[in-house]
């Protein structure tokens, strides 16, 4: 059982004993039943965060010590320091390869440490022997050397760090004309694929790490893609981004049944598509496309992208994912619009057509999401609209007045929708409350005739007696965080409620036999559906403590076993 609940139980039991709700034997039986707090197999998140913070502070302290005096060392002296640091990192790495289990926590830590030290040393050397070269050459050195450590230790954290460096490289100014950086980046990302495949095969061992690795890998692939487009100044940039995003999204959608690790494919694919939505709504994008003539290489790449998109649509067709097909059609729409732009259609018309496609897509997502209760689709619709509206903020094609008025109207519309929902919610609440009041009045009428006790609505987290009837029966509500039942022999049986975390309230104790009740066995029953059938007490997961050792069902308003209050139903 959850550690927190056991701790809570051990804190509460003495109180219950003192109040006479449970006997010492029953309390002991409960303690035995819920058992001891077992040791954790892995360190808790809080401990990891604390460890990380401690390491961070130590690292920053060491950094400050060096930073104050670093430039007072001669370049050769700095080189010596760097070599010393690398030697320490290599010795630790060697120890890790020798002793640490591959892929274990220690191996992960050592791998990450090595990558961090190598990165720090490389950039310190680059600073010392400054030539103005871009960071690409240094990223290449770090990634090439660290990749071996990743394979030797099986360190996913080191791999994620490497992918982070590749992302840094992708977003930095670069030296395309000299040594073809994007090609190197693609080679390095390809070198990591066997490791990713290995992790993917054994994903049941550490799903969370594989998930993070997936995020990092997909992000790095996207970064490399943007890097390539920017470096070679390819035309049809929007089409390529749309193709990559759509194919990635389709890949994640087709394989989403295989587990959480596919989430990054859908997530980053969707982010890429949002980028396409934003970029596609600008007039400038289409004007630029109209001004450039794609070369043969670009056209060949475009054909390859089209083949990939077609493959993705086919896979989605097989899985009968209609909406995803509509989303994956995005690059085809973009491609068609680019063709129309080259045929002489104005950028404004093209932009309007693209916006129309996005609006239709968002509407379909909204209705589909609403009908199938898929929050992601509704969110996707909202993000698509937000992207379209957000893009207008910076759109120079519209005047400040036009943009300002559009934003004010959009904001007011959101307020109106919100007000409408608040009004509807309020009306709904009023209807329920009036229904509760009617039911309560009915019960009070029954109580007046002496057939049933008065039942007042109880809060789910309240504790204490709420009402007593003429027979002296006390209705009390108590908040309990645990479920389960213990029979008279002290043997425990678990009664699972529908909502494990819900509080339990209500229950009745005969005040004339409360002392005896504490000495006798305690019966705990889930009366959520049975005991409060047809009532509006507001109790959730009600537990009843009864002095009756036969576990006789208690009907607060005197309904016999097997009977139902059909009027209340």
């Amino acid at each position: 059982m959850d550690k927190k609940r056991i701790v809570w139980l051990h804190e509460e039991l003495p109180k219950w004993e003192s109040k006479g709700w449970v006997s010492k034997e029953a309390a002991a039986a409960m303690k035995v039943f819920y058992g001891e707090i077992g040791p954790r197999k892995t360190p808790s998140l809080m401990r990891l965060v604390a460890l990380f913070l401690g390491l961070l502070l130590v690292g920053l302290g060491v950094f400050l010590l060096f930073a104050g005096y670093w430039y007072s060392f001669s370049p050769a002296g700095r080189l010596d320091w760097c070599i010393a640091l690398l030697l320490i990192a290599l010795i630790i790495l060697g120890g890790g390869i020798w002793k640490a289990p591959r892929g274990g926590l220690l191996a992960e830590g050592i791998g990450l440490f090595f990558v961090l030290v190598l990165t720090m040393v490389t950039f310190l050397m680059a600073d010392t022997y400054y030539t103005g070269a871009g960071i690409g050459i240094y990223c290449l050195i770090i990634m090439l050397l660290s990749m071996q450590a990743v394979y030797l230790l099986g360190s996913q954290l080191a791999m994620i760090a490497i992918l982070g460096i590749s992302l840094l490289w992708s977003t930095s100014p670069h030296d395309i004309t000299i040594w073809g950086e994007p090609a190197w980046l693609w080679v390095l990302l390809a070198l990591g694929i066997p490791f990713y495949a290995e992790r993917w095969r054994s994903r049941s061992v550490g799903l969370i790490s594989t998930l993070w690795l997936s995020w990092a890998y997909v992000a790095a692939l996207f970064g490399a893609f943007f890097f390539t487009i920017n470096s070679y100044q390819l035309s049809l940039g929007l089409f390529f981004v749309a193709s990559l995003s759509a194919v990635t999204f389709a890949l994640g959608s087709v394989s989403k049944e295989q587990g959480l690790w596919t989430l990054p494919f859908r997530g980053i694919g969707a982010l890429g598509l949002i980028y396409v939505v934003v970029d596609g709504t600008f007039l400038g994008t289409w004007e630029e496309e109209a001004a450039t003539v794609p070369g043969i290489g670009t056209l060949l790449l475009a054909v390859a992208a089209l083949v990939l998109v077609a493959g993705a649509i086919r896979a989605l067709w097989r899985e009968k994912q209609g909406l995803e097909i509509l989303i994956t059609l995005c690059p085809l729409v973009v491609g068609a619009l680019i063709i129309t732009v080259h045929m002489g259609v104005t950028a404004l018309t093209t932009s309007i057509l693209f916006n129309a496609y996005v609006v239709v897509l968002a509407a379909v997502m909204f209705f589909r999401g609403g009908m199938t209760n898929r929050v992601a689709l509704v969110n996707g619709c909202i993000f698509a609209f937000l992207a379209m509206i957000g893009a207008r903020f910076f759109d120079p094609a519209f005047t400040f007045v036009e943009r300002g008025l559009t934003f004010i109207i959009s904001g007011l519309a959101i307020f109106m929708v919100n007000l409408f929902y608040m009004w509807r919610k309020h009306a709904e609440r009023d209807a329920i409350n009036s229904s509760v009041n009617r039911a309560n009045r009915r019960l009070q009428r029954k109580d007046a005739t002496g057939n049933a006790p008065n039942v007042a609505p109880t809060g789910s987290a309240s504790m204490g007696s709420t009402a007593s009837n003429s027979k002296g029966t006390v209705s009390s509500s108590a908040s309990l965080g645990a479920t389960g039942g213990i029979d008279s022999d002290g043997a425990a049986s678990e009664a699972v409620t529908s909502d494990e975390g819900s509080s339990m309230s209500g229950g009745s104790t005969n005040n004339t036999s409360s002392t005896k009740a504490s000495e006798s066995a305690v019966s705990v029953e889930d009366t959520t559906s049975q005991d409060l059938r047809g009532t509006n007490t507001g109790a959730q997961g009600t537990k009843r403590f009864s002095s009756d050792t036969k576990q006789e069902r208690f009907r607060p308003w005197g309904i016999a076993d097997g009977e139902e209050d059909h009027n209340e139903k």
Partner: protein, 211 residues
């Protein structure tokens, strides 16, 4: 298992050797420029970027970093380009143009385009640092100085390194800033005439005539 162990350690040894060599490779890139590069001069201005870590270098802004585009295709901002340069008789480099193609003959420097205006481009030379003992340099040189400063740089295969900065032929580590009046006069000197003996002579003659 018997085969796996040596392979693992062979990989580790190779990686360790390469890792230890990597700082030397970075060092060698710089020293080869200093030792094998051809030395030229360029008029510059100095600045010190806000830094909370005590540093040993100043940022160098190369004056006259604007030229016409001679490459194929339209230039774009952030594009890397070859700056075609030609040394004058006094050793100061003169910019002849910028292109995305390496010149068949002559000297060139790799730079990044920072601004594009029709056929004119502005560029930033990448090796924009000079290492100095900042305790010896008068802060005026990198704060308010308007006088002429000449940087010496060594260039090889488009890459380069700034080896020093001089005021009237004296390294700024030992030089004293000129008077404000003299700095004002220097600042009026056209870039093309910096370092030209005749330009200085002409100015002095004009001043004498005015007096």
């Amino acid at each position: 298992m018997k085969n796996k162990l040596p392979v693992k350690w062979i990989c580790f040894v190779i990686m360790a050797i390469l890792t230890i060599l990597s700082p030397f490779y970075i060092q060698q890139r710089s020293t080869s420029l200093r030792q094998g590069g051809v030395e030229y001069q360029w008029p510059v201005a100095l600045s010190r970027t806000a830094s909370w870590i005590p540093s040993d270098y100043l940022d160098v802004k190369f004056l006259g970093s604007r030229t016409n585009w001679q490459g194929t295709g339209l230039p774009v901002v952030n594009q890397e380009a070859y700056i075609w340069v030609e040394p004058k008789a006094n050793g100061i480099l003169e910019v002849k143009g910028a292109s995305n193609e390496k010149p068949a003959t002559g000297e060139y420097i790799l730079a990044r385009l920072t601004k594009v205006e029709k056929t004119d481009v502005e560029f930033q030379i990448l090796f924009n640092r000079v290492t100095l003992d900042l305790n010896k340099v008068d802060p005026q040189f990198y704060t308010t100085y308007k006088g002429t400063l000449l940087a010496t740089l060594k260039i090889k295969d488009g890459y380069g390194v700034v080896t020093g900065v001089y005021s009237k032929g004296v390294s700024i580590e030992t030089a004293v800033p000129e008077s404000v009046e003299q700095q004002e006069l220097d600042s009026r000197t056209p870039l093309s005439q910096i370092g030209e003996p005749r330009a200085v002579d002409t100015k002095e003659t004009e001043e004498r005539e005015q007096q």
